[in-house]
């Protein structure tokens, strides 16, 4: 799932040995960047990251020539964690409930990524690999949840998972403080999914 994307970032390529200090600094940078991104967003000053990691600017640019490389590396495991949560939810809950709960989990994940949306849509080709990874991890997960709910007759079957993924992310990312707006609007989207579904129609309120 991450054969090409990984190479050149973590430095654990097959044919080359990595010097110990290089690996150490890479890890320190990833750790520091994760903290700084969560605190100040992905647009945080580079020097803030290098200072926290205790390395020079040159070191950062050696390991992550593109800023997107650093961002991608930091977020990849969070993406994986969110995607991997879906099977458990599907096993524990009814189809619609599992779908709703995973979307809530997804909004929780996206909600901490301030500034990421702007970066993704900045038009800078350096960020082009990020949406691809998001997509290839999340689309199958959401498709499975949607299909299961559709087979149960609880949601309609004509909605593209990628559409719903983008829409949910777009609704979530711009929120600064959690005033319930995101949850209400995602619930509204889910009601839209249920509208006209084959199953029983009970009433609004998906969450």
């Amino acid at each position: 799932m991450s054969e090409e994307v990984d190479a050149g970032v973590t430095g654990e390529r097959a044919g080359k040995r990595v010097r110990a200090d290089a690996q150490r600094n890479t890890d320190a940078l990833l750790s520091a960047a994760a903290e700084v991104f969560a605190t100040s967003g992905v647009d945080a000053p580079v020097r803030q990251i290098t200072a926290k990691a205790g390395v020079g600017a040159g070191t950062l640019y050696r390991h992550f020539p593109q800023r997107s490389d650093l961002i991608a590396a930091v977020f990849r495991h969070e993406v994986d964690a969110c995607a991997d949560a879906a099977p458990a939810l599907a096993a524990q809950h009814e189809p619609l409930e599992a779908l709703v709960k995973w979307l809530q989990r997804f909004t929780g994940f996206i909600g901490t990524k301030h500034g990421l949306s702007a970066a993704l849509h900045s038009g800078d080709p350096a960020y082009s690999s990020l949406p691809a990874y998001f997509q290839q991890r999340f689309v199958p997960v959401l498709r499975a949840l949607l299909d299961r709910a559709a087979e149960a007759g609880e949601v309609r079957s004509d909605v593209d998972p990628y559409d719903l993924l983008r829409a949910t992310a777009n609704l979530t990312l711009p929120a600064r403080e959690d005033d319930g707006h995101t949850q209400r609007m995602v619930a509204l989207l889910i009601d839209g999914l249920r509208f006209g579904a084959g199953g029983t129609v009970s009433g609004p309120g998906a969450g």
Copy 2:
């Protein structure tokens, strides 16, 4: 509708006479900013605007101490134009159709404002006046459309206009190219509105 927001930006305050060169430069800056914003987004370098306007940096900061002042002044008439389109739509179309058509008009307006979303949600208090103006112009307009459609039994009545406004804008702004995603997702939102409404339930597809 714009008593407080206007003062101090256009320079046409009541008690003070404005020097001719000051007014000339204000107009030149507004005109230049409008062009630059449309071309390079609202994050365009300040010097690009001052150069096009043929003024110094000091002149810009004198007339627009906050960057948001300039942005607000440039976009205000576009906001007004969009808001003012609602009554005509309401007069020409059925309640639900008028609501849908105005939301489409609204997405068209928002769709050209690349970078504005990031600015609005950057957390910088300097931009706090912009959402206020958007809100005070658009919320009453959308509320009227929603109320009319709700009275006709075509949509539910428990949706806050401001919520719907933000959601639609959030769905629209991040789009780089128009692949129909925004229209599909706004249609899904509208289906969510129709879900559980008092009137007849016909089937999905609001557009």
